[in-house]
């Protein structure tokens, strides 16, 4: 009798141990593997995903996100991805589609359960009206894809990502929502600080190299009066450079904002002609070591802008 009970006990113990062995590691260790096209999306995803996800970005923050090389080393990362988040609006059109096709991962194919186009959550500016042609340069027919530089869009995108993560991992949905609420609260507080810092400079006229800052300018009240590029993606020409100089002289603009991946030669020649200043302003997380997350990106950029405005009164 004792022997029988002991056998039953051992049998039950083994069964329970096996069940635990199957169940516990999977629930305890399961993390969604997220790949994002840009570092900004990676930062927002990390904010809402916390320790229930791993996230990695393909493009570095100091890279031009239009011109990323579709390296084979990215394929292995994409193959293992549960979720791929892209900026959308054709920003990654030249490099992401072949990576997706070659990844051999059905989840992240366009329309798959693990593909998320973050632009659907954002307020998108500069949507061309009428016919779009290449005479307009490398224009994006669905609108300007540099939308993440508006904190309100950061909030919207983070909310959308939290929802998607919750769909994919329902047992952690409440956790992702709680993380989003916390992010929202911290972002609201930070926005007040940023807006206070930028308040004295609302309406200030600036020129940017590429059309990377429309959402930033709208949110913080900057007035972009021209671009160093004659058209998006077209390198500056002497004639257009003269036009920019004249425009800046006429309007009293003194500041030229340049993304870290563009050559400074033309902006500096414009600045010297008008007695102005060139400011290298990273548009993405990781563009400079100090801009290491979404909050620090705005801290860094706004700090630079305030200093530059004071120097160019």
């Amino acid at each position: 009798m004792i022997f029988k009970s002991k056998s039953r006990f051992i049998f039950s113990f083994v069964v329970v141990a096996m069940l635990l062995a199957f169940v516990l590691p999977s629930s305890a260790a399961k993390k969604l593997n997220v790949i994002t096209s840009t570092s900004d999306l990676a930062s927002l995803t990390q904010e809402v995903g916390g320790d229930r996800i791993t996230v990695e970005s393909i493009a570095k923050g100091y890279q031009d996100p239009h011109f990323v090389e579709a390296k084979p080393s990215f394929l292995l990362k994409l193959r293992k991805a549960d979720l791929l988040i892209s900026v959308g609006l054709d920003l990654e059109i030249g490099w992401l589609p072949p990576l997706i096709t070659q990844s051999g991962n059905p989840r992240i194919q366009s329309g798959g359960s693990g593909y998320l186009d973050a632009s659907q959550f954002a307020e998108v500016l500069e949507q061309p009206q009428g016919q779009v042609t290449r005479a307009m340069g490398d224009v994006h027919p669905l609108g300007n894809p540099h939308y993440w530089l508006d904190p309100d869009n950061g909030r919207r995108v983070a909310k959308g990502i939290a929802g998607k993560l919750g769909q994919m991992q329902p047992e952690d949905a409440a956790y992702f929502q709680q993380r989003f609420q916390d992010f929202d609260k911290r972002l609201t507080e930070a926005e007040k600080r940023w807006e206070e810092m930028m308040k004295p400079y609302r309406g200030r006229k600036v020129v940017t190299y590429h059309r990377s800052f429309p959402n930033f300018s709208k949110h913080f009240g900057l007035n972009v009066i021209g671009y160093v590029e004659p058209r998006p993606g077209i390198p500056p020409s002497p004639g257009h450079t003269i036009d920019v100089i004249q425009t800046m002289k006429r309007d009293g603009a003194k500041l030229i904002l340049v993304e870290p991946y563009f050559d400074l030669k033309t902006p500096q020649s414009i600045a010297s002609a008008i007695g102005g200043k060139v400011l290298v302003l990273p548009p993405s997380v990781g563009g400079e070591p100090d801009a290491s997350d979404y909050f620090k990106l705005f801290d860094y950029d706004i700090g630079l802008l305030v200093k530059a405005f004071n120097e160019t009164k």
Binding site: K60, Y62, Q63, D64, H66, F67, V68, E69, A70, K71, P72, S73, L75, L76, R79, G88, L89, D90, L91, I93, G94, W95, P97, P98, I100, T101, Q102, S103, G104, N105, P106, Q109, S110, G111, G112, D117, S119, Q120, F121, A122, E123, V124, Q131, V132, T133, R134, G137, D138, V139, H140, P141, L142, G143, R156, G233, I234, P235, P260, Y261, D263
Partner: protein
């Protein structure tokens, strides 16, 4: 009476004053709360509009072919260059009812007519023009002084959730050729990627490249002499590829392919069993974030045309062995201004033919440096035996200068010196103009 009137007036005044005071005391709070509520409602409505706009964009993108947009002009650019589609997608609002002749007008079926939504599902269409000019003398392999060398039309779209389709049709001055036309199965199990159709074989590097992505106006001599010329190994068949993670961060990719066995003058199938096979193993590693190395080994085997020439029974086979190496440097912070690509391919050919077994060898090495956003310089050295008579060896060297007015067009000049086995030298200056229309999908790295 007067007193009563005074008391009445005073009371009225007092009431009015108290009412006004009360209004003054309560209105700011009330107004503030009303304003705040109104602002909140406006903000909510704004958020709702942004959500709806996002949904509309998603629907538009889905209707525009349900494809990942493929707008890169791979014509003049390395992979990674954005080109928006030229024309906006067909408006989704253009329903069948608005189209003359549609069924909704009650005039019978609209045979062969694509309606608005059907047009929205059309593939991305592109055309790449390749114009060549040449001055100088070449009595061995001469080319016309001026020619519209190729017009490549591309049709690309996602077929269904499991596959995408790509067609590249080449219009030359003398005829039309299906350069490639294949379906790629993107959702196979275990990370395999399959492909069926007509395609360029995965033999080495240059064989996989379309003319418009070459950094030269021509193909290397080893391609002309040993790998079937401009078309190379380009045949109907099937392909399977899988990527692996190797040790120390090395990316490995293995490809196996089987073809009908007809590739120009390289392979010739006399019967159904005369299929050709190609195998390729690629190893890739990032040395730094700006520098990477890509090394490949290739093998191809197929029946050749010696049987036709000899009119004798028996199998005459050509086997090719190749190795290729590419080093790339592209600083990420200045990736649009400076880059370098060094490349070399070494190919051994063993061709069975009547009376002899030809063992030929050839190679090229090249380097291309990007001087600025629009300017590139490059050079190439060629040396190759001829596959049918390995005792004949050609050699040559080229210098190349390329200018990109934009991502969608390029101008190129190439000085080419060649020493042919016949003892003839040739010096040519070749000019090329390439231009791209439409949404041409990015080619693999």
């Amino acid at each position: 009476m007067t007193r009563k009137i005074l008391i009445y007036c005073f009371t009225l005044l007092a009431l009015s004053s108290s009412f006004v005071w009360a209004q003054q005391a309560t209105t700011p709070t009330g107004q503030q709360s009303d304003t705040a509520a109104l602002e909140q409602r406006m903000k909510d409505m704004e958020e709702r509009i942004i959500q709806l706009e996002g949904q509309v964009r998603q629907l538009k993108a889905q209707n525009a072919g349900q494809a990942p947009p493929t707008g890169t002009n791979a014509n003049a650019v390395p992979p990674g260059t954005s080109v928006p589609p030229v024309s906006a997608p067909e408006p989704a609002s253009q329903t069948a009812a608005q189209i003359p002749g549609s069924q909704t007008e009650g005039q019978g079926p609209n045979l062969g007519g694509a309606t608005g939504m059907a047009k929205a599902l059309n593939p991305d269409i592109s055309v790449i023009g390749d114009f060549l000019g040449s001055v100088g003398k070449n009595n061995v392999r001469g080319v016309p002084s001026l020619e519209m060398h190729e017009s490549e039309v591309g049709f690309q779209a996602i077929i269904d959730p499991y596959a995408r389709g790509d067609f590249f049709i080449s219009f030359g001055e003398e005829g039309v050729n299906l350069e490639e036309g294949y379906i790629t199965f993107t959702a196979l199990p275990a990370g395999f990627v399959g492909r069926v159709g007509k395609m360029r074989a995965a033999f080495g590097k240059v064989n996989t490249l379309h003319n418009h992505v070459l950094p030269w106006t021509d193909r290397p001599m080893v391609t002309d002499n040993l790998v079937g010329g401009e078309d190379g190994i380009d045949d109907a068949g099937a392909s399977i590829t899988r990527a692996f993670a190797g040790p120390k961060g090395i990316f490995l990719e293995a490809t196996g392919q089987i073809f009908r066995g007809d590739s120009g003058d390289l392979f010739s199938a006399q019967k159904k069993g005369d299929v050709s096979t190609v195998a390729h193993l690629r190893g890739y590693r990032d040395i730094t974030e700006s520098t990477n190395v890509d090394i490949g080994i290739s093998y191809a085997r197929g029946h050749n045309d010696a049987q036709n020439i000899a009119l004798l029974p028996g199998d005459f086979v050509t086997s090719l062995y190749g190795t290729d190496a590419t080093i790339r440097w592209k600083p990420l912070r200045r990736s649009i201004y400076h880059s370098f690509i060094g490349r070399g391919e070494f190919i051994w050919s063993q061709r069975q033919q009547l009376l002899a077994f030809q063992r030929a060898f050839g190679f090229y090495t090249s380097g291309d440096y990007q001087l600025g956003r629009r300017w590139f310089v490059g050079g190439r050295y060629d040396r190759s035996d001829r596959s049918r008579d390995a005792s004949l060896t050609d050699s040559g060297a080229s210098a190349v200068l390329t200018y990109w007015p934009s991502e969608f067009s390029q101008l190129r000049a190439q000085y080419r010196h060649a020493n042919y086995a016949e003892g003839i030298s040739a010096n040519e200056l070749r000019f090329q103009v390439q231009f791209s229309l439409g949404a041409h999908g990015a080619h693999p790295f």
